[in-house]
Symmetry: C2
Subunit: 264 residues, 2 copies
């Protein structure tokens, strides 16, 4: 098999994350689908694609509380509707990627994933492995999943990325977000914010003290967890880049590094 | 856990099967979703729901030949688009069931299923089991799936029904089709056709000679295979009923038998 890249496009890129109804950001989605399509044609790599769910997920999860488990029967309907919504988003995302000749195939992680008190315990990956070997681009996304302790919890796109990177020994893991890396202060509030070009186990503590965790926290964790997970990956080079910068996702897929914060 | 029923609604019921573009039969889908919702409320059973894909699947599969495996690269796009289409149908089906208070949760079987030269080898069912225990209604549907020999083949809704009935020791398996059982001649062509009320291992051969297989053959097998699979099920009572008869699906779910052909 060719070298494997795991690419995640954050929910804040492909949806309008702050809307209180599920809304796709079509200009961004179409541009990013084209970038991935161009890179997939020009490059020589296998790809697992993961996307966040933005306004298709966070609104209903916050409203219904299913990330904290099923405590009353009506939440079964919420669990079910949340999954349906994520699949609806994925069907639309896939459509745009297929238009750009990416053989992107949906994989609903919760069909097999098991959570254990909000921790991702694991999922069966035999079919995904087969799809990759065939030359398909399996695509996964954040989902509500069966939790053996609390009934339901959220399996985030970030956790899926880390899990599959380990499982398939990915060469690289690219997280495209709307921020583009880790800064010493919030770049959305402070124009002097400086990008931290590299985070390692050695400087992680110092970075955390500087940044004070993350301003863009969401129901699935936020930046601190993302970095922690990425630091645990051995053998996979990770980078957080800005997916709002035209061309960055394509360039990163084609091998360029240094576009954001590298985590090694 | 309560007694488990596996219900399949055929693709010919919920889609316009003969259309050459994917088209849902909304009047039928809405009526059947209500019947299932009413029965689920009144009755006391666990439910796995499986649906066929009709014009969302058979047209593209026949056109692209992916059921016979991947022999050229362009078929990867066909495999991917076929899966996307099935998920699109399922998202719409789920929407109608949710309106009727059925906590129906999508489970894309091909996320974990493996085929072996067109034979269904198996899939991970841990998450489905958890969902059932929680009180959700897992819903599966025919899908193109990874085949370790030929790259891709079709995992039919029928095969999923048989597999899950065995796996979860289902009490009953109800197949609602547009025919309503097995007849001694084609009921669509012959108004004198007589329903065969029961098929057993003993009279199966005789029945086959009478019916000459099936007139409504499709890419996933047809009636002969359906009966063969049902006869293999031990401990599960099967019945093929007519889903076009208003009330039949509800009555069958609530325990009535004898509405179609029983297979024991």
């Amino acid at each position: 098999m060719k070298d494997l890249i795991v690419l995640k496009l954050g929910g804040s890129l492909i949806t309008e994350k702050d809307k209180d109804t599920p809304t796709i950001n079509y200009p961004n989605l179409k541009r990013l689908a084209k970038e991935v399509g161009d890179a997939y044609k020009e490059g020589n790599f296998s790809l697992v694609f993961v996307h966040g769910v933005g306004s298709f997920g966070h609104v209903i999860v916050k409203k219904t509380g299913i990330n904290n488990g099923i405590t009353k029967e009506s939440q079964l309907m919420d669990f079910a509707e949340t999954q349906r919504l994520q699949n609806e988003l994925n069907v639309k995302v896939c459509k745009e990627f297929l238009k750009n000749n990416v053989p992107i195939i949906p994989v609903q992680a919760s069909a097999t994933a098991i959570m254990d008190a909000k921790k991702f315990e694991g999922m069966d990956t035999g079919a995904i492995k087969g799809m990759l070997e065939l030359g398909l681009v399996p695509t996964l996304f954040g989902v509500p999943a069966y939790d053996r302790i609390q009934g339901c919890s959220i399996l985030s796109g970030d956790d899926i990325c880390t899990y599959l990177s380990k499982e398939f020994h990915a060469k690289r893991l690219i997280h495209a977000t709307d921020v583009g890396g880790v800064f010493d202060s919030n770049p959305k509030e402070n124009s002097d914010a400086k990008l931290i070009p590299e985070i390692t186990r050695e400087n992680f503590k110092e970075v955390l003290e500087k940044t004070g965790g993350s301003s863009n926290t969401d129901v699935t964790g936020g930046m601190k967890n993302k970095i922690k997970n990425l630091l645990e990956l051995k053998g996979t080079k990770s980078e957080i880049i800005n997916g709002n910068e035209p061309g960055y996702v394509k360039r990163a897929l084609l091998g360029e590094s240094g576009l954001g914060t590298q985590i090694n």
